[in-house]
Symmetry: C2
Subunit: 463 residues, 2 copies
């Protein structure tokens, strides 16, 4: 392994000026004439390439000059600051070792490819500028999230993926089994599928949320967060749905809805700020080639104070709008995409929509004194719609049990969740942050398939 990587050279160029450096990496482009040439080299450490100058003084010059794209080389050379050139410095190679030659049918030759085509070579697409930027931003964003919560006293909890409990309706849950699906399923005496012969001895699912388990840990640690993969089996082929995605679910004791909004705003601003600081080259690239005005949008978010408005007041605004809706706004209904878009444009920035009609929200949300709405809040941002959804949780045992019964859910299955309202109950709140939605917002990428390394969508589970 080389001691030095390209990132070091960019971050600390002066230190290496006139010094010999050794680099190992991939040939991204190569241009040559008879006696000299230029190689753009990348080692994966940095978004930008390094320009390596080769001349016929190299004993293997002819071979090097004819190398195929994405061949692997080891370069020894001197770094020279090139003040008036396009690139800030170059490496004048004194020795180049060819580590491997790339096959000639390499699909990523210089020409541009469509995102659709690149999905068919998902194992190679992180080598392109776009996906290199997107997936480095994905990594840096994930770490910024961890940092935010860890620095603010939250405990990271790994809630289980495998579950027997059906928390929000199993309609969207995958079934998990060790039974042989190629054969007849084993039957019990009554002719029903005999799940006692499955690994866990009963029906099991992949959970679609860690919230309930998260709450149990919040009742011990005060503040917790989860961050892990979530699988949902919904059969929808849209630009914003995938069957496998990552989610962050913080849960905070002694926290009401107003305080929750403070936390959500603070959290989102922290993340965006850190990504802009740590990925300036990648954000510049996205601003230029993915979403024009991206940086302006992100800077505006950092400097704005998010609007907080009740759902009913949003409906008022929508009804008054001089606009023909596909879906008519209604006080008892959810917001459609077109409404979300209108309202963020109306306020020209992020909007917290709060106090939603209880019937369209989850059973565990805190009933407001009006008896009609729950203390729920969705954060809508310009361009991406809802990226955070949270609520104050119902902390009253009797009230929670009542809703569970009204909704014909099985209270016994989540007795442990109800226990939290009997043992140490407190006003508490939490939210879910869809990681991919956030990434689409930060990068400007429009299709969720392009912010996930190996996306899984209906009829599509390649690689």
């Amino acid at each position: 392994m080389s001691e030095i990587v390209i990132k070091d050279l960019y971050r600390d160029t002066k230190k290496y000026n006139n010094k010999e450096v050794i680099l190992e990496g991939w040939v991204k482009t190569i241009r040559d004439s008879k006696t000299f040439g230029f190689i753009e080299l990348n080692d994966g450490s940095f978004f930008k390439n390094v320009q390596v100058v080769i001349t016929d003084k190299l004993e293997n010059f002819e071979k090097v000059a004819k190398l195929s794209i994405y061949s692997c080389i080891k370069v020894i050379g001197k770094l020279i600051i090139t003040e008036n050139a396009k690139q800030p410095f170059e490496i004048q190679a004194t020795n180049i070792e060819i580590l491997s030659e790339c096959d000639k049918d390499y699909p990523l030759q210089k020409k541009r490819h469509s995102f659709e085509y690149l999905r068919t070579i998902a194992h190679l697409r992180p080598r392109t500028n776009t996906f290199n930027a997107v997936f480095r931003i994905r990594s840096v964003t994930a770490f910024a999230i961890h940092e935010y919560f860890q620095n603010n006293g939250y405990v990271y909890v790994h809630t289980p993926i495998i579950t027997c409990a059906d928390c929000e309706g199993s309609a969207e849950m995958f079934k998990l089994t060790t039974m042989d699906l190629k054969k007849e399923l084993p039957k019990d005496q009554d002719g029903k599928t005999d799940f006692s012969r499955d690994l866990f001895g009963k029906e099991t699912y992949i959970t679609g949320s860690g919230q309930l388990h998260g709450e149990t840990f919040a009742s011990a640690f005060g503040k917790i967060y989860t961050f892990g993969p979530t699988l949902r089996s919904e059969n929808s082929n849209t630009k914003t749905h995938a069957n496998e995605f990552w989610m962050i679910e913080p849960e905070i004791s002694f926290c009401d809805l107003d305080e929750l909004m403070d936390i959500e705003e603070d959290c989102l601003k922290y993340i965006v700020k850190k990504v802009m600081e740590r990925c300036p080259e990648e954000i510049d690239f996205c601003d230029k080639f993915i979403e024009k005005g991206l940086k302006e949008k992100l800077n505006k978010l950092l400097n704005s104070e998010f609007v907080r408005i009740d759902h009913k007041d949003v409906i008022d605004i929508l009804k008054k709008a001089d606009k023909k809706w596909e879906f008519e706004p209604d006080y008892g209904e959810d917001l459609a995409k077109e409404h979300e878009k209108y309202i963020t444009e109306y306020f020209n920035g992020p909007v917290f929509v709060k106090n939603w009609p209880k019937d369209i929200k989850s059973y565990y949300m805190k009933l407001n004194p009006d008896g009609k709405t729950v203390a729920a809040v969705d954060l809508e941002v310009p361009g991406a719609g809802e990226i955070m959804g949270g609520s104050q949780r119902e902390e009253d045992y009797e009230k929670l049990l009542k809703v569970i019964k009204e909704r014909k859910m099985d209270a016994d299955q989540i007795y442990w969740y109800l226990d939290l309202r009997r043992y140490g109950s407190n006003i508490h709140s939490g939210f879910g942050l869809g990681f991919e939605r956030l990434l689409m917002y930060i990068t400007g990428i429009e299709n969720i398939r392009d912010v996930i390394p190996y996306p899984r969508t209906p009829k599509n589970c390649d690689f």
Copy 2:
């Protein structure tokens, strides 16, 4: 939410001396006499409780003094440094608001409970000292791992959980489906299960490793790591097996086996060091109540240089040992638990065992020039056995294809993995770190069920 949490008071006691503080938290213990009493209060922010002094000057003194364990209160009071007392400071309460009273059947009364019993109340056990320590250490360890890799230029990759590829044999893979398992499975014309009607249109599994996908990203970013849940369906009920656990899988380009060992050693030392720095109270507790000598063990790890020895030389040592083995050591075989134990005791510290017989290792490991061994390495640590397993990967296309065919695997299914050997192939290596094994080592906890928030093991999927 209170502005101040208990952690602040412990970390910066002087600042708060003689000041009024407001705390919200749970009553961990309460002792009272007629006119005064002591409440141990915890708000989840810190391992230790705060002592709150109550007197009959409080208007609700009698009610407060009779509060049940794990009731929730809000305390206003003055912080007083108590130099000669057991605790460094106390809060003299001037006002106490009762936020909720805990039901009297609360199962965690003061007496000690067995770990087995506590598993049956997994939703409450993080409130005990032991599990509070363990799960905070889990969180801090996870973050230290992210920190290590991010600070060293690795890109975090979320490899998919859902897979169609059968990378290491599907024997241990869960099947995933949206088909109704309570009914007959749909059949095609030939009477076989019709997987085209499943969500992905084919058989899908939950992957047991992200390595292969990780390698594809390492060929773009140079250094990557994964950190996510792993599901394996093996039916084994042991202290070290769970069906759901978390794993870290770094993959490094331009890195051979020796450099891999350098990284593994550096990484493990970093993690242990950070956890000891950031969780001194929790580590002290584990040292006292979970594993006597834990701190000495961890400090020794930090100050030792890990031994590096070939598998065959380990077998030599085992054969020469004056010991009756349950499993006879053999040059062609894996090490048994008893062998791992002996060898770490023999060297009195962590041991890298390298260059293993090829037939007992995975197909993707680099064949050594001897034609008999592969460049694999397992790290064995005293007390916990193997916690890291890695190898240099076979970077030669023809050699890799040969092994795949010898092992009768389907090369077409992993054509994309083979592509890496045709497009930009390089010497590269990676390892897997079992997160729970690491936690067992750091905390001294002996059963994997006790380092996982909600453990899943055969016949056991509660909560």
